[in-house]
Structures are given as C-alpha cells and as structure tokens.
C-alpha cells in the first residue's frame, strides 16, 4: 500500500483537528470536575455517539471485519445479541442508580452501595486493565502502520501517544468525547464507500449470497450444537454467556462506556444516551462486519484478495480491512480510510486513558491518599495521571511487542473481572439484602472461578494450564462458557454470604436499590423522551433483524 501526498494531507488534517479541539477546550476547563467529568454538561446526541464510539476502537473495527471473514453473518451476535438488550437495560433500569446516586464513577457507586473494599477492588482492577488496554491499542496501531505503511514502530508509538496526550491533557474528558464523535463520523463515512463499491464488485447482495459459503450466511441456523456453526458455540453459551453475562457485564458495568452516559446534562438524557446509541449500534455491522463478508465473496471471484499469513504461519484475519482498503480504494479516499483506522486506535486509547484518570483521581487518590483537597488540586492530579497513563501505555506497547502472549492474557483477565461484576451490580441494585461482604467475596470467587475454568479447559491451543478436562470447538465458545460460570459462582457466593451477614440499614440504600427508590413518573413525557418506549421500539427492530437474517 503506497500513500501519496493527498493521503498524508488527510491524515495531517485529522491530527491538526484533534489537537485543536483539545486546545480550544482547554480554556474552558477550570476544575477537576470539568477535566474528569465534563461538568455533566454534554448534549444528548454527543453522549449517545460517544457511548458507542468508546467501544468502536481498533480492536472493534479490525476485529469485527476479521470475524466477518471467520464467522460470516454470525458475527452480528456481538451487536444484536451482545449489545442491544444490555444497552437498553442500562438506560431503563440501571442509569437511574448511577446518575441518581450522584456517583462520579462506577467504583464510587460500589462504595455507596457496599463499602470501600469492594470499591477498591474494582477501582484497582479497572485502572490496571484500562491503562494496559490503552497500551495494547498503541502497540496494535504501531504494528498496523509498520505493516501496511512501512512506518517505523518507535516513531508510530511516540507520534500516536504524543497526539493522544496533547488532546487529553489539554481538554480532558470533553476533548476525548468530542474526538470520539468525530471518529464515529470518520469511520462511517470513510468505510461505507468501501462496502458500497465492494458489494458492487461482488455482484450485489445476490453475488455475495452466491459466492460465500451458505454456512456463513445465517445468524441462528446451526446454533443447536457447537459443531454445526462457524463460531463453534452452542445456543446456550451464546445466549447466556454472550447475550446475558458478557453483554450486561460490559455495557452495564464497564466505566469506560458508562462514563459517557454519566456526563449527560440530566437523568432523562443519561437514560436515553445508551438507548439512542443502540440504534446506530445495531446498524454498525453494515460498516464493520460487511467488509469481511464481502472479502469472502471477492476471494472466490477474483485473484489478489487473499489474506497474508502471520508469523505463526496462519491466515492473518486482522488484515481483512487493510486488504480491502488497499485493493479497492484509490489514493485520496485511501487516506480517509487509513485515517479512520488511526482514529479508531487513538480514540480507543484516549477513552481508556480518560477513564483511567477519573478512576485513579476519584476512587484511589481522593479516597485513599488525599481526601479533602481543593478542586484545583484534583485538576492537577487528573492531568498528572493523564501523563502517567500515557507513559505506562507506551511501556505496555513495548512489553506487548516482546511478549505477544501478554495481549491474550490481558483480554482474558479483563473477561475474568467484568463477567462476575455484573452479578455484583445486579444483586446490589435489585436485592436490598445484598451485603458488602457478600459482594466482595462473591467478586473474588467469581474471578477465581473464571481463572479455574480457563485453567481446566482448552480451545485453539489456549488454556488448560492446570489440566485439560474439556476441549472447546473455538476460543469464542471457551470465553462464553468462562463468562457464565464466573457469573453463576459470583451470584451464588454473594447470595450465600449475604444471607449470613448483616445488611446495611434501608434508609442508607435509598437511591441505590430499586425497591427502596421512589419511581419516576414518565407518563407525561412525549414518547421520544420516554426511555422505556424508546427501548421497546429499538428492541422490536433488533428482533426483526434477527428474524430477517435467521
């Protein structure tokens, strides 16, 4: 892939814009709250697009095109099953507690609902995971630029890290959120032409259906058994593991995404943020998965669309989107496509860094190091944490370069932490009897159960570091099973320990637990401002899409 001056100009315009956004916003930031929470002053359309853009990082953009090649249409489960219901549930049922409790972060809600040790556990694991995820985004970006553009690894790492540092340090969370929205439009408008011309070349939808294996052109067919679908997953693991535990664990408890709704101007907008975001989310497969499926059709029709092999001698599915860009885009729009990829990496990194600095400042520094300092002091701490987060990210990028397995390990540990966390939140919000000790020991047990399941099972050569009791058809199937086992263990231990320990007084749980919180009267609102009605409409659309592509 050879870029020309026009492509570099497009990339330069993007870099100029992101840094300028940070610079302009800098003048408006006076306090730690402005820097870390955007002073809860962001309009609904921005929070909604930022909500899905926070998840639209490079792993998503490259990874879903790769899954499109591997699994075909089945990949849409990550959207239609693994996102929509959880996002609607967050908006309708959970956001009133996050926003209404005035908590500034997800760990802070845990402190209000349970106690400091549960908050500390979540804050530390989340902070470590986010800053390492940021480093992995940086590593992946540098590798991509090296492979497809021939750029030097070190230069790519420091250039990308420097730009992310510039705009997050200057404009804080607002700057990160603004850039996420710009990135959203850049990805949609930069990749959509690829889908249109790719489909045209493949002979339209009929051409795709004709040239892609029938087994990859369904969503639910063959899900009765793990051996009869390309994902290697059975319906129970898919629905319970992905659709319930992983989806709800990620979308309802991961502060990186929840933070985008928590900075809304009022509770109603905070509730509608994830619900409105669901609409573009369920349509996103057209942009991020379709390039992979179109590639499959083009491979059977034309020469030159083959995927390269990686160092292990296996097909490098992550190169699906870059291959499509290089084969179908001329210089000019190619620069836009490459910029969209760079934007997704940098935005993913910035999202992690801004979530990290908020959790570190509010949930670690303010809680355990310096309690009653001035707003200005926390602003300095937030800024210093941003620099520290970027430095750790750079270090992680180099560690990942030398030890590739660290990426698998971190992804795995992230799953270990998120899956049981949903049980902790679910019980905490909907069962007033749940105690602080129940939550803490439930979380520990769930995480341990996840690690144990991974140690006793294998898939695609991974896991089984204790013994091999079972071999899964795919790594995806193993991940879904680990998730639901972690959830069930956390749920059961939390209930059992709660039953033998003393709960908090009911008056201290008002605004934190469903049954003890006065219900809002939504009846007078117009339909498009009613979270429940909006959620139901989007749910009907999601079900219809599942039926159409069954």
């Amino acid at each position: 892939m050879k870029l020309q001056l026009i492509d570099y100009l497009v990339i330069a315009v993007y870099f100029l814009f992101v840094v300028t956004i940070g610079y302009v916003l800098k003048k408006k930031i006076k306090t730690g709250n402005d820097f870390l929470m955007s002073n809860r002053n962001i309009p609904l359309w921005i929070t909604s697009l930022a909500f899905i853009s926070a998840n639209l990082g490079a792993q998503e953009v490259l990874g879903m095109a790769a899954n499109g090649v591997k699994y075909g249409l089945y990949t849409v489960h990550f959207y239609w099953l693994g996102a929509s219901l959880a996002m609607i549930f967050l908006g309708v049922y959970m956001m009133p507690f996050y926003y209404g409790s005035k908590a500034r972060s997800v760990p802070e809600y845990l402190a209000l609902r349970y106690d400091e040790k549960t908050r500390g556990f979540n804050a530390v694991t989340f902070a470590v995971m986010t800053v390492f995820s940021s480093g992995i985004s940086l590593y992946a970006l540098a590798m991509l630029l090296k492979i497809i553009l021939g750029w030097d690894f070190n230069m790519s790492v420091f250039l990308a890290a420097g730009i992310v540092l510039a705009y997050t340090f200057l404009g804080g969370l607002t700057s990160a959120v603004y850039n996420e929205v710009l990135q959203f439009f850049l990805i949609v408008l930069g990749v959509a032409p690829l889908v249109i011309i790719g489909m045209d070349k493949a002979g339209g939808w009929q051409g795709i259906v004709q040239h892609v294996a029938e087994a990859k052109m369904h969503v639910w067919k063959g899900m009765a058994s793990a051996s009869t679908n390309p994902m290697g997953v059975d319906a129970f693991s898919l629905v319970f593991g992905l659709g319930f535990v992983l989806a709800f664990g990620y979308w309802c408890t991961d502060f990186l995404v929840v933070q985008r709704a928590m900075i809304s101007r009022n509770l109603n907008e905070a509730q509608r943020t994830p619900i409105i975001a669901t609409l573009p989310k369920i349509l996103m497969p057209a942009v991020v998965i379709m390039p992979g499926i179109i590639l499959l059709a083009l491979q059977s029709e034309f020469k030159g669309f083959e995927l390269p092999v990686n160092a292990a001698g296996e097909l490098d599915y992550n190169m699906a989107l870059p291959v499509m860009l290089s084969k179908l885009y001329p210089n000019g729009i190619l620069g836009v496509g490459i910029t969209a990829l760079i934007a997704s990496f940098m935005s993913g990194m910035a999202g992690n860094v801004t979530a990290f600095n908020t959790v570190f400042t509010f949930d670690i520094y303010q809680s355990y190091i310096k309690k009653d300092a001035s707003e200005k002091h926390y602003l300095y701490v937030g800024k210093a944490t941003t620099i520290a987060g970027i430095i750790i990210s750079i270090a992680t990028a180099y560690v990942a370069r030398n030890f590739n397995s660290i990426m698998d390990l971190l992804q795995l540990v992230f799953g270990f932490v998120n899956a049981p966390l949903f049980a902790t939140f679910f019980l905490g919000m909907f069962w007033k009897r749940t105690t602080a000790n129940g939550a803490f020991y439930g979380l520990l047990s769930g995480t341990a159960a996840a690690a144990l399941t991974h140690g006793l099972t294998m898939a695609e050569g991974k896991g089984g570091w204790l013994a091999n009791w079972h071999t899964f058809y795919s790594g995806t199937g193993q991940a879904f099973t680990i998730a639901w086992i972690a959830f069930v263990v956390c749920f059961a231990v939390t209930v059992l320990v709660s039953l033998v320990t003393k709960p908090k007084a009911e008056e201290s749980l008002v605004g934190l637990v469903y049954s003890l919180t006065p219900k809002q009267k939504d009846a007078a609102k117009v339909w498009y401002k009613n979270p429940l009605i909006l959620g139901l409409i989007i749910l009907v659309i999601t079900v219809a899409l599942n039926i159409i592509f069954f």
């Binding site: 315009v13 006076k30 710009l182 729009i333």
Partner: protein, 64 residues
C-alpha cells in the same frame, strides 16, 4: 465550562476540508485511469460538512 465548542461546526469544517481536498485531487489528477470515487466521496463529504456547519449556524441564531 458553561458553553462548549459546537461540535457540529468542528465536524462540518473537518469534512468540508477533507471533501475539498478529495475534489481538488480529482480535478488536478491527470491519470485517465483514475476512478470517480474521489469525486463522489469528496462531493458527499462537502455536502455533509456544509449541512453540519449550517446546523450549527442556525442553532446559534435560534439561541440568540
């Protein structure tokens, strides 16, 4: 931080610039084998950019 930078204006300006670049590149490119993709995408970007800038402008007038 009472009044924030209008993001519609920023996004609009970005796509106006990028769309403009694609159009200029298409017009200046003498390679007869070039496809019209830059022309089509550049035009869409310019129209989208102008719409976002217009939205920002009219909402500002409404506020005043």
């Amino acid at each position: 931080m009472k009044k924030l930078l209008d993001l519609r204006f920023v996004i609009g300006l970005f796509f106006l610039l990028v769309g403009g670049l694609l159009l200029v590149y298409y017009l200046l490119n003498t390679d007869i084998t070039q496809t019209s993709l830059n022309l089509k995408c550049g035009s869409v970007f310019v129209v989208f950019g102008m719409s976002m800038v217009a939205l920002s402008y009219f909402s500002k007038i409404e506020e005043e």
